[in-house]
């Protein structure tokens, strides 16, 4: 790629970041997302107890702030009923939520935009057929579809260590992809419908360019802004979904430090004993979802201004 294209991209990115960070809300959201991302990457180095399942029976049920003992630093968020350090578990939980929601979003955006662009550009019976399938998928409530899919895959009996078992372990990731591919495809399709009527696409057709060239080289660049906005929106929904499935017991399995799972494990009677073991992971979920939403609002604004 020539240098002038590179410098243009740098300038565009700088403009984009400028608009994104000028607004206080989206700046705050972006900062928080990056804070959680930092935890997700370096969590194991930051957590005082790198093994989230360390059970220390001597400190079971220890509160957040024991005024008497005043052991701040040892267990800032207290310990749960099994003596696990909540602070460490919250930090370590960031990794799994980012991995599953993030990877799920990436897969759904890649697959969804390829499918959607092809549908939009090609049109005809192919578009018609796939369009109906997408409509059908979108008609089913997301959480219900997710529960059914997880239920089915979890109950299949796989050989331990086989790729199927590996897949079953990452079933939530798969569910996110299945749920969001149609949504992204719809956005990509409608953008492609708009772009394909432009004369530069016709000029490419007159040159006899193959379909993949027209889709990826001529249409895709103009659609990317819309896809970026959609991706950020999908990411925030994916986080919500991962947490929900965890809470319902269909996501990560105990004893992994999943935020949703932690909320589930510590509700009911246990909440009287160790309210902090529920409050902190719940707070983390809420903060991250709000942060991603603020950021995606900002991204939408920045993309619209940029055009």
């Amino acid at each position: 790629m020539n240098s002038s294209l590179f410098s243009r991209q740098v300038a565009a990115l700088r403009r984009f970041a400028g608009v994104l960070l000028r607004h206080p809300q989206s700046a705050l959201g972006t900062a928080l997302v990056f804070f959680f991302l930092f935890l997700a990457i370096f969590g194991s180095g930051l957590a005082p107890y790198p093994n989230p399942n360390d059970q220390r029976h001597d400190v079971r049920l220890s509160p957040t702030l024991d005024i008497g003992a005043l052991q701040l630093g040892a267990h800032p968020f207290g310990t749960d009923r099994l003596g696990r350090d909540v602070y460490s578990r919250v930090i370590l939980g960031a990794g799994s939520i980012f991995r599953i929601a993030g990877l799920g979003t990436v897969i759904s955006v890649l697959v969804g935009s390829a499918v959607g662009l092809y549908m939009g550009y090609r049109g005809g019976w192919f578009d018609e057929l796939l369009g109906r399938v997408i409509d059908a998928l979108l008609a089913i409530p997301a959480l219900l579809l997710a529960l059914v899919l997880v239920g089915i895959i979890r109950n299949l009996d796989f050989e331990i260590g086989s790729w199927q078992a590996e897949l079953a372990d990452n079933v939530v990731l798969l569910v996110i992809a299945v749920l969001y591919v149609p949504v992204v495809a719809r956005v990509a399709r409608s953008s492609a419908l708009d772009i394909k009527t432009r004369e530069f696409v016709e000029a490419a057709e007159i040159r006899g360019e193959p379909t993949y060239y027209i889709i990826f080289r001529e249409i895709l660049p103009s659609v990317i802004p819309a896809l970026v906005v959609e991706a950020s929106l999908r990411f925030s929904y994916a986080i919500f979904l991962v947490a929900s499935l965890g809470f319902l017991g269909f996501g990560a399995r105990p004893p992994s430090p999943d935020w949703g799972l932690m909320v589930n494990e510590n509700r009911g009677g246990f909440y009287q004993l160790t309210p902090w073991a529920l409050d902190f992971p719940a707070l983390a979920i809420a903060l991250l979802v709000i942060a991603v939403n603020l950021m995606s609002d900002g991204i939408r604004r920045a993309v619209q201004k940029g055009n």
């Binding site: 020539n2 002038s4 294209l5 243009r8 432009r198 004369e199 530069f200 016709e202 000029a203 490419a204 057709e205 007159i206 040159r207 006899g208 360019e209 080289r217 001529e218 660049p221 103009s222």
Partner: protein, 693 residues
Amino acid sequence: MTAPLLDVENLTVSYRIGKRWIPAVRDFHLQLAPGHIVGLVGESGSGKSTVALALMRYLGSNGRVESGGRLDFAGEDLLSKSDAEMRSIWARRVKLVPQNAGAALNPSMKIGAQVTEVLGAAMGTGGAEAEQAMLQIFHDVNLVDPEKVADRYPHELSGGMQQRVVIAMALITNPELLILDEPTTGLDVTTEAVILDLVRGLMAERDTGVIYITHNLGVVAQLCERVLVLYAGEIMEEAPVEQLYALPRHPYSLGLLNSVPRLGQSKADSRLHSISGNPPALAELTRGCVFADRCEFVIDKCRVEKPPLEQLGDGRAARCFRWEEVDASFLGPAVGSSEGERVLQRDDADTDTLMRVTNLKKHFPVAKSLEDWLRGRTPAPIRAVDGVNLTLRAGQTLGLVGESGSGKTTLSRLIIGLQERTGGQLELLGMDIRNSVRERSPDVLSKLQMVFQNPQNSLNPYLSVRQALRRPLVKLRGMTPAGAEAEVAQLLRRVNLREDYADRFPDELSGGEKQRVVIARAFASDPDLIICDEPVSALDVSVQSAVLNLLARLQEEHGSAYLFISHDLAVVGYLSDVIAVMYLGQLFEVGAASDLFQPPYHPYTEALVSAIPVADPHHKAERMLLHDVLPSAQRLPSGCRFHTRCPRKIGAVCEEEAPPWREVEAGHAIRCHIPLEELSALQHSFPRSEEIG
């Protein structure tokens, strides 16, 4: 002169861009008496619409009128009025007719309700009285069947009717000042002629002062008494209309007048005069003359000192140091060619047939409605192109003219293969060619190329000029990347662009530069036929002529043929060797460009030719107005398709039988029931041939 209706002195209008206020219109002045009509001419970005809004004090929040100027309307100072006072002035005394009438009407309200609403808001009249006033004004603007029009929604009216409704809405309160902002741009010449006649007639009856804003010098010549020529926000010249056209005193007015091709002027006679360069951006105005960079008369003084708007007597003024040296001898087409080469006259006999179009058809099927399903009917298709026969010769230009909706664009898309034909044959160099681009061989693809109407959308905004030009070279001419690199530079030079433009992106190019790149891209595969669909209609007048010159020169160098589509007959006439006139999917006249604008011609051609606003105030041709709208291509008229609008209809035979082709001479044929001698006799010669000079 009576007391002025509008008296503007020293008006400066600024827009906020980022944190700065940038003056978009500087030192504007204007005097307008009641019952008079003044024209405001300028290209895009000249500030003419800004003036219109400023005169009404209707600028957005990012615009303001700077203090120090004067804006008096009927003796009142508008600049000191409060918003509430302005609103009552807007309601009845000053009216604006915008360019896009379709967008000015509320799509969810019936026409009648919208018009009476204006009356209610302005004068408090309602009920039967308002109804009566509305019907009267509809009658005045020549709307047929006012009651029916009032009962329709805007989308049910044609563009010309919508424009008439908007003019009626403006006139209904009997305003003292009417500002028309490009009211006919975007309309067909035939409709434009009707609207211009209407404005002229209404002004004669009422005592309204009119400001007519346009970029079309022909319209100004036909309509206005005085003209202000605007450039980059400053008045360049002010003059009574006859004097401006006879003797422009500013190099810019001169350049504008010279860059428009006259009807009958041909590429074989001369190149068009063009103004080099691009208008300056608002933010980079220099302290000298704003036109200095593009001026042929420029001297050193122009670059450092701003010329004043000098009064020349006779109500004329010009902003130029050297106005005395600009005189009538510079008017008229450039002698020889501006690019230093003489165009050769081609001999028809020894050119080969490049493409033969035989009985080409395109019928768009119409989806069945529920009623159609129940009755087991198939609705009639839209016959966009319905049996066209054409021959294109190598190295020649075939011009295609007709109103919008006549099927010109569909025909071109069938030939290029972007649309699949319903029937008929296409032969390129004697071989049959396939329906769509997907089925055509690379060899055929490389022989056919296209230049589009809208340069804005013709280039991918994410690809550099180099990438846009390299692709066809590699793809269609099989060049290696290294070879293509050298050829890109070559192509850019050929379209008069510097080589360093290769690294620019479309958003760094002006409209004219984009179109040059598009033309270079079309020529990259060394095609035999290039389809040009309205290639200059989106460009400014001063840029248009340069692009037309370029097309003429490239044709000379490459020997490519053009299929040239345009609604502008003078432009088509300039570039074409042969012209075909299309109406409702069929050709009605085909002939050599030099013959076509002389009688005898088909009544439809006659109407098209007479509708052109000629850029000469002394030229008052008898107009042959086409009132009705184009019939639907789904329900075509029987017999001759033109009979519903034909002013020369001779009787039942026109409604019942399809007209025969009558040959005037070799290569010139007319499809009409009227015998040729009679046509000739009916169409007394217009004084067009002398004017070509």
